[in-house]
Amino acid sequence: MIDESMVEETIRHYNEAIFDTDRDRALEMVHQALERGMTPEDIVFKVVLPAMDQMIKSISEAFDTSLAQHYMTAQIADSVVAEMIPKFKQAPQVAGRVVIGSAEGDLHSLGKRIVIGCMRARMIEVTDLGVNVPPERFVDEAVAHGASIIGISAMMVHTARGSNGSLGVRRILKERGLEDRIKIVVGGAPYRFDHELYKTVQADAWAEDGVTAAGVIAELAEEVRT
């Protein structure tokens, strides 16, 4: 039986490693904890996911995290969870299904990769549609994968506002009567400059950065499900 102090110690060391973007040390902490008898379930639910929530909290309270930290948080969480899940006593329930891609005309993929890493760590099933995705494909793939969320990344003003981005996806969802079943979440630089822009492009929600986006998507997926 493991005691709470060990869990706390693991959390502290793991968080420090995440804050320093030290992937090797983060993985070492996890492996040590496993050896000392901590369950894979506890590692995911008591260490990795709370560390991600802690990062979201630091982002919202003060600007004291960096893009490098967001990226490594996602990558480390993704790889730890991928390693732990096969060791779970019972396969975890899928927390939601999402298709994600960069808007048509947009070739940026970094933000999207951060979101994907964080979502996988939260056991959300993600299909990555890549970059430069036309609106029809977003909807077709969402239907094919039974996804309740379409995530659209746009790092440029014209791809965020354009008629082939979120606006185009909304139009097709409306035409096909899918609006109750599928929600749109947007993210990317233009949305950070104008916090109301997601409404202008008729999305259901937006997020300031990749780590937060995964949380927003998880909440929305939960809402659609219930």
């Binding site: 804050f19 893009l67 490098a68 003003v157 014209h158």
Partner: protein, 460 residues
């Protein structure tokens, strides 16, 4: 700042504040003493224009005596349509009328700048017979009102962008110049790599030898060139405006009132600041930002991740006291990291594509408005410039694009010199380089950029 409803904005004084260009603000290049080829413009006045995203620079020349008569510099008023090139292209692509509006602002500004120099130097406008304009692809597309929508399509990012002057007569008429005056817009190379980079290459002479060289034109849109002895590899990378004017809380262009050098004073952690024009500091330009970040990393107050050490606290570091104090905050460091990572990663990808290791570079040319103030060792320490080279291999050039444009003004019409460059150039579209994202993340750290990773069998 976000308006919550309809806002009426009144612009009280729309006049552009032009000022004289000082000689040390660009690198004058010795003009070829003997005219080469057929010259058609042996007499009269010639005008060289560098149409930058943030600033416009103009010089007027006596073509027969081959002598500079005066020059000026002012902000590009198109910034009202957005600080970066994509916002402006986006505005122009709404309707044809919007494109005409954005284009007219740039043309009017060029006319205004020419006026400023002609009046100030008491020159006869009827003698102006040639105007040559260089710039990045987006600026030239907006100026000529063609090709701006093509640039918004990723499919065109490796293709040539059509930027021809459809009605040069209307332009010279609007500028009050003789109808016989010819206007030449030096064609961009392809995608976002404009003729300003070609002008840089001409001015620095980076491809004149067989030695391998690297050129960086630092700005809102940074352009990079690598000469491997046979091929001129080029690319562009959007670093964002952190080095130019905004993106950081106290960022200003390299103009009067800008801190351009900031050195740690002593163990107290305060900075000794050099200010352009010796005035009270208004803000930091890119070179001082590099100095401050590098010295904070050195003394341990800033970590390689971009986080402040715990003893610094949440309020950041005071760089210069004043009304208000100039304070480096966490978000400024983040904007800096993103900008320098785009440049560092772009440089690495281009060197890798060209098969040129950093250590093989004989010379590195650093161009751009704040480039002339850059402390090379500091820039290397934070990963903005290649880290493995001795600082004496770097040359600081300031605004080389204008100098290159002046060479074009004295070259035979049709730009044979530029055409030769074009045939040797090969463009790398970073959007198509799968490794770019990973390189970008690696380059976010505030540490020297490591050696180029050349895989065996890559084209050299």
């Amino acid at each position: 700042m976000t308006p919550v409803g309809d806002v009426t904005v009144e612009i009280v004084d729309a006049a552009i504040a032009w000022r004289d260009l000082r000689e040390d603000e660009y690198t004058p290049v010795p003009l070829p003493s003997e005219p080469r080829g057929i010259r058609t413009s042996s007499a009269g006045l010639g005008v060289a224009v560098d149409l930058g995203t943030t600033e416009i620079r103009v010089t007027v020349w006596d073509l027969s005596r081959r002598r500079g008569l005066g020059g000026c510099l002012g902000p590009n008023p198109q910034s009202t349509f957005g600080a970066d090139v994509l916002s402006r292209l986006g505005t122009a692509s709404w309707t044809g009328e919007d494109a005409a509006g954005v284009g007219r602002v740039a043309r009017d500004a060029i006319g205004d700048a020419i006026d400023y120099v002609l009046l100030r130097e008491h020159l006869d406008r009827s003698e102006v017979c040639r105007v040559v304009i260089v710039g990045n692809s987006a600026m030239l597309a907006l100026l000529t009102e063609c090709g701006y929508d093509a640039l918004l399509e990723p499919d065109n990012w490796a293709r040539e962008i059509d930027c021809h002057v459809s009605d040069a007569r209307a332009w010279v008429r609007a500028w009050g110049l003789p109808e016989s005056a010819r206007v030449e817009v030096a064609r961009p190379l392809a995608g976002f790599v404009g003729s300003d980079l070609l002008a840089d290459v001409l001015a620095t002479g980076m491809i004149e030898g067989t030695g391998k060289t690297l050129l960086l034109d630092l700005g809102t849109n940074t352009e990079i060139a690598v000469w491997d002895g046979t091929v001129l590899w080029v690319t562009s990378t959007p670093g964002g405006p952190a080095f130019e004017s905004c993106g950081t809380d106290f960022g200003v262009p390299a103009e009067a009132g800008a801190v351009y050098r900031a050195m740690p004073r002593d163990a107290s952690g305060t900075f000794a600041c050099d200010v352009i024009g010796g005035e009270a500091p208004r803000g930091l330009c890119g070179s001082a930002l590099v100095d401050v970040v590098a010295s904070l990393v050195r003394d341990g107050r800033l970590k390689r991740t971009g986080n402040f050490a715990p003893e610094v606290g949440d309020d950041g570091v005071v760089v210069a006291e004043g009304e208000p104090d100039l304070v480096l905050r966490r978000r400024d460091v983040d904007a800096f990291q993103r900008a320098k990572a785009a440049i560092g990663a772009g440089t690495q990808c281009l060197l890798e594509e060209a098969g040129v290791p950093q250590s093989a570079l004989e010379r590195v040319y650093v161009c751009g408005a704040f480039g002339r103030f850059l402390d090379v060792a500091n820039a290397q320490q934070v990963g903005l410039l290649p880290g493995t080279l001795s600082p004496d291999r770097f040359g600081l050039w300031g605004n080389a694009a204008l100098a290159g444009c002046e060479l074009l003004l004295f070259a035979p019409e049709g730009g044979a010199a530029v055409e030769r460059l074009r045939t040797r150039a090969r463009l790398l579209n970073l959007a198509q380089v799968p490794a770019f994202d990973d390189r970008f993340v690696e380059n976010l750290y505030l540490e020297p950029a490591g050696e180029t990773r050349i895989t065996e069998g890559e084209p050299a």
